[in-house]
Amino acid sequence: MDMKIKEKIAFFFTSMRNVFSFFLRLGLKTKKTKIFYLLSFLPILMALIIKFSQVFSNGRQIEGIFIFSNMIMVFYLQFLILILALFFGTSVCSEEVEGKTLTYLVTRPIPKPAFILGKYSAYTLIVILMVAVGVIFSFVILNVDNLLDFSRYKIFLRYMAVLTLGILCYSSFFMFIGTFLKRSILFGLIFSFGWENVVQYFPGSTQRFAIVHYLKSLLPPSSGGRFSFLLFRLEPSSPGMSIFMLFLITGIFLVLSCVVFSLKEYILDD
C-alpha cells in the first residue's frame, strides 16, 4: 500500500515535469512572450542611459545602489511583475479555453492538478527569468564601479528574492482568477492597479489585505524619489510573518486553482 502511494506521487511529479517542459518550450516561443521580453528588458536600457549620462556629466553623482533600489521599487514591484503575473497567470487556464486546445491536454493521462501546477511552474519560471535578466543586468550596469563591494550583492539578492516571491504569489492568485472567471483580465487590472494601490492608504490593518504590503515589508524602507508617497503609511509586518503570509497566499490559491480546474467543466464552444 505504501509503495502504491509512493508510485502515485512519483507519477504525479513526472507528469508535472512533462507538462512543465511542454509549456516552458511553448511559452518561450510564442509571439506574445516576445513583446513582454522587450518590456522587461527596458530597465537595462534605462540603466545604460543613466550610467552613461553620469559618466559624461560632472554633476552630483547619485549612488548606483540607490538608483537600483528606486527602480526596483517603482518599476518592478508596482508595475512589471503585476503585468507579467496577470498575463501569464490568467493564461494558464484561459488561453487553453479560448484557444480550444484544452481538449488535447485533458485527454492525456495526467492528473488535472499536475497540469495546473506544471503549467504554473513553467509560466512563473518564464516570468522570473524575464525579470531576473533585467534586474541582473541593470544591477551590474549601475554598480559597475563598485562591483567588489559585497554588501551590495546582499541587497541585490534581497530584492531578487522579494520579486520572486511576488511573482509566485501574484501568479497563483491570477491563475485562480483565470480558472474561475471568464473576464479575468479586467478583474485583474482592477485588483492590481486599484485595490493594491488604494488599500495602502487606508488606516489600521486594512493594508494587510494587499499582497504588496507583505512584499514591501520585506524591503528596506526607501526614501526619496517622486514615488516615495507610494510607501505612504506603510506599517510593516515582521519579515517572518510576511514570508509566511506570502507562501500561505500562494499555497491557498494554488490549491484552489487545482480544485476549481478539476471540478469545473469548460465548454469550448464560443
Binding site: K31, K32, I35, L39, L42, M46, I49, I50, S53, I62, I67, N70, M71, V74, F75, Q78, F79, I83, L86, F87, T90, S91, S94, E95, E98, R183, S184, I185, L186, L189, F193, G224, G225, R226, F227
Partner: protein, 289 residues
C-alpha cells in the same frame, strides 16, 4: 392573378455609392460596446467629473447666495480657462478614458482577427481606409461625449448663468481651444487603441497592452526623473505629454518647463508609427509563409 415566384428573388433596389460607407461599422461598434456588462456603469462614472464641474460653474455665479454657508476665507471659484484646463487634464478623466478604450476599443480589430471577420468586410466595397475609419469613429464617438460636449456645455452654461457675454469677450479663443485640444486627444487615443487592437487576435492581450503601456510610460518618466531631475524625461510619459499640450492650448502655465511642441511631436510620432503598423496588419487574408 399573380403568384409570387418561388425560389430566389432579385432585389429590385440599386446599390449606391454611399458617402459614408464606414458608418454601419461605427454604429455596430457603439452598439456592441453598450452590450457589455458594466460598460454603462463605467461610462456614467466617466461623466461624473463633468457634472461636478458644471455644478461648479453654477456655484460660481450664485456664490453670493451661498455666502452665509461658507466662511470668508473659502476659495472663490473663478471660471477661467484654467478651470477648463483642469477638467480636461485631470488624472481621473485620463484614467477613465483609458478604461473606455479597454472596454470599447480593445476588441475592435482583434475580435475581427479572431473570428475571421475581416474577409467579410473586405469582400464588400470597403477600402482599408473606410474600415479603419469606421472603427476609429467608435472611439471618436465615446471621446466626443467625454471631451467636446462637456466643454461646449460648460461654455454655454457659463454664458447663460452669468447672463452676459463678458466671458465670451474675455476669452474669445476658448471655444477654439476646447475643440483643438479635444481633437488632438481623440486622434491620439484612436490611433493608440486601434494600433494595439490590431496587434493580436487575443483581446486579453490587447487589454493588458492598452492599460500597461499607458501606466508604463508614466512610470518610466518617474524613474528617470527620480534619478536625473530632468524634466525632459516627461516626454516619455503619455499622460505628461497630454497635460503639457493641454496647458499650452488653454494658455496656462505648463506643469513642467518643457516646450509643448516636443510633447506634440512625440504624440504625433506615436500616431504615425501606429498608422503604419495598422495599415500592415489589416488585410483581407492572413498570408502565412
Amino acid at each position: 392573378m399573380t403568384i409570387k415566384e418561388k425560389g430566389y428573388a432579385h432585389w429590385d433596389g440599386k446599390l449606391q455609392e454611399k458617402r459614408f460607407p464606414w458608418f454601419p461599422i461605427t454604429r455596430l461598434g457603439i452598439k456592441l460596446a453598450f452590450k457589455k456588462k458594466y460598460f454603462k456603469f463605467l461610462f456614467s462614472m466617466t461623466l461624473v467629473p463633468a457634472i461636478i464641474y458644471l455644478a461648479g460653474i453654477y456655484a460660481s455665479e450664485r456664490l453670493e447666495d451661498f455666502r452665509f454657508m461658507i466662511s470668508e476665507s473659502a476659495l472663490f471659484i473663478k471660471i477661467t480657462p484654467a478651470y477648463f484646463n483642469s477638467y480636461y487634464t485631470n488624472d481621473f478623466i485620463l484614467f477613465m478614458i483609458v478604461m473606455i478604450m479597454v472596454f470599447a476599443g480593445a476588441g475592435l480589430i482583434s475580435d475581427d482577427l479572431k473570428y475571421n471577420a475581416l474577409q467579410l468586410y473586405f469582400s464588400r466595397p470597403l477600402s482599408k481606409k473606410d474600415y479603419i475609419f469606421g472603427k476609429a469613429s467608435v472611439i471618436v464617438f465615446f471621446m466626443f461625449i467625454v471631451t467636446i460636449i462637456p466643454g461646449v456645455v460648460f461654455f454655454i452654461m457659463k454664458l447663460i448663468f452669468s447672463g452676459s457675454f463678458k466671458f465670451l469677450i474675455d476669452y474669445p479663443w476658448l471655444i477654439l481651444s476646447i475643440f483643438g485640444y479635444s481633437l488632438i486627444l481623440i486622434a491620439f487615443f484612436s490611433f493608440y487603441t486601434l494600433f494595439l487592437s490590431s496587434l493580436s487576435k487575443n483581446r486579453r492581450y490587447v487589454t493588458v497592452l492598452i492599460f500597461g503601456l499607458y501606466v508604463f510610460s508614466d512610470i518610466l518618466y518617474g524613474i528617470f526623473y527620480g534619478n536625473f531631475h530632468n524634466h525632459y524625461f516627461s516626454l516619455l510619459s503619455i499622460k505628461c505629454n497630454i497635460k503639457q499640450i493641454g496647458a499650452y492650448i488653454f494658455n496656462q502655465n505648463r506643469p513642467l518647463p518643457v516646450p509643448w511642441i516636443y510633447s506634440f511631436l512625440v504624440l504625433l510620432f506615436i500616431c504615425i508609427v501606429a498608422g503604419i503598423v495598422l495599415n500592415k496588419r489589416v488585410k483581407g487574408v492572413e498570408i502565412v509563409k
